[in-house]
């Protein structure tokens, strides 16, 4: 036990060695004047401006605006993707009817749609949420569909011989069997969610982390810009951690998630 904790701790230390060294080097380079603050501000300055913006409430305001957009987009795009994946996964008819059309649209590079989206929705909230929703839709749709289709046929046959009703068969066998794949879809879509939020917010916005960053560029406030980028990174990382926790909870029966 103690040797395991020890090796865990040394693994942990080792994995942080590189990032900490880089930040330290960066700080030193900035302090020594080798690195112009017009190109990159010192990490400590970024931290300072972060504390300053946080205490004035400005940071929270922008953060909340971004967070709302992301979650709204995820809920809309995710639930549509899940429902459609669900229908096409369970019914051949629905698959023939819908799936190939969705696969065609999927191959359009979504970022190429940005000019159209601006034309349709203007530069208000609608367009941003639409972009995020569209981006999260595809991974959730595809993985739900694939998950439902690849449930072990032997288990379904077993369930039938045990007299399970259609609903019980779905609840006991099909949905849990598809869950690992659905969760992979969720995890992928969380990545796309932040990516498309950044794009949407940098095009046009009057609040949000992206707005804060773009606004800072106008005034050459490199520290605020780096702060914005760091916050995006933190948001991405924390949603990934959350998805990981969700996976571990839902898939605790799975050998790969047992410690």
């Amino acid at each position: 036990m103690s040797s395991r904790t020890k090796s865990f701790r040394s693994d942990w230390l080792l994995s942080w060695l590189l990032p900490v060294t880089i930040v330290l080097g960066w700080q030193l380079a900035a302090q020594a004047g080798w690195l112009s603050t017009r190109i990159l501000p010192a990490p400590l300055d970024v931290l300072k401006v972060g504390v300053q913006l946080a205490s004035s409430g400005e940071l929270y305001h922008h953060f909340l605006a971004s967070f709302k957009r992301a979650v709204t987009g995820l809920l809309i795009g995710g639930s549509i993707g899940f429902l459609l994946g669900f229908v096409t996964g369970l019914s051949r008819l629905a698959q023939n009817l819908i799936d190939s059309s969705i696969q065609m649209v999927r191959n359009v590079p979504l970022l190429a749609l940005v000019p159209l989206v601006i034309l349709w929705f203007g530069i208000g909230e609608g367009g941003k949420i639409f972009l995020v929703a569209l981006a999260v839709f595809f991974p959730i749709y595809l993985n739900t569909f694939h998950g439902l289709r690849s449930v072990d046929k032997d288990l379904i046959e077993m369930g039938r011989t045990y007299g399970l009703s259609r609903f019980a068969l779905f609840r006991e066998v099909i949905l849990p069997g598809a869950l690992p794949s659905i969760l992979v879809g969720l995890r992928m879509s969380l990545g796309y969610m932040w990516l498309f939020l950044v794009v949407a917010e940098t095009i046009s916005a009057n609040e949000g982390i992206g707005y804060m960053t773009m606004n800072a560029r106008e005034f050459l406030q490199t520290d605020v810009m780096v702060l914005g980028i760091a916050i995006y990174a933190l948001l991405g990382k924390s949603s990934d951690v959350l998805a990981g926790l969700l996976e571990r909870h839902c898939l605790k029966w799975h050998k790969g998630y047992q410690t």
């Binding site: 032997d154 288990l155 039938r160 011989t161 007299g163 066998v173 898939l251 029966w253």
Partner: protein
Amino acid sequence: MDARVAEVEVSSSTGIAINTSHLVKRYGEREVLHGLDLAIAPGEFVAIVGRSGCGKSTFLRLLAGLEQTTAGAIVLDGKTSAGIHPDARIMFQDARLLPWRTVIQNVALGLPKDKRAAALAALLEVGLADRADEWPANLSGGQRQRVALARALVHQPRLLLLDEPLGALDALTRIEMQCLIERLWQQHNFTVLLVTHDVAEAVTLGDRVVLIEQGSITLDLEINLPRRRERGAAEFAALEGKVLSRVLDGQLCPN
């Protein structure tokens, strides 16, 4: 706990009588079974042997209602059967436990109510009550098959269809399982149909050993040895040899 076990034993049911007449199964052009006639008495233990691909598993799946017959009839307890019989349970070569349900939840699958007590009693019968709350992934192959057996037993089936359930187990675990199946069959009096490629297993367990070759029954041999049959005994060896040489058509190692 003891009271629950007693309850299960008291309510043990008697077996289903099986009659098949001119049973034919075709997949497209290929005919797998050519008119099988077989009568099995209630509570009888019949072992079906044959080479792989002879149609023995198809026969079992027809009886289970998992496949449609092409022609002929399956009569269970005097009634022509259609679909899955509610009193029949099938065990497959793989345990087919739901990996996302615990052992006891797997056993209780499809039970209407009072799930835990009945499931626990069934687990106790196969000697796995202490593993009730574990995930199937943490059990060995033999233990998984015992859970699958408990899952079948908990419904108090009157017909147990075993599709090579011991085929993937090691030799020692297999002998343990054979004893367990024999004991439970004697307690509960259900009809058992065991499909196996292991002739020794068939002679150990069967009241009758039926040989299916290329879709037809070519041997139907009564095994009149006293139960708890010993593999070493001379009569056992003679019967095993007889079936085996029939299966192999007299050529043990063809040139």
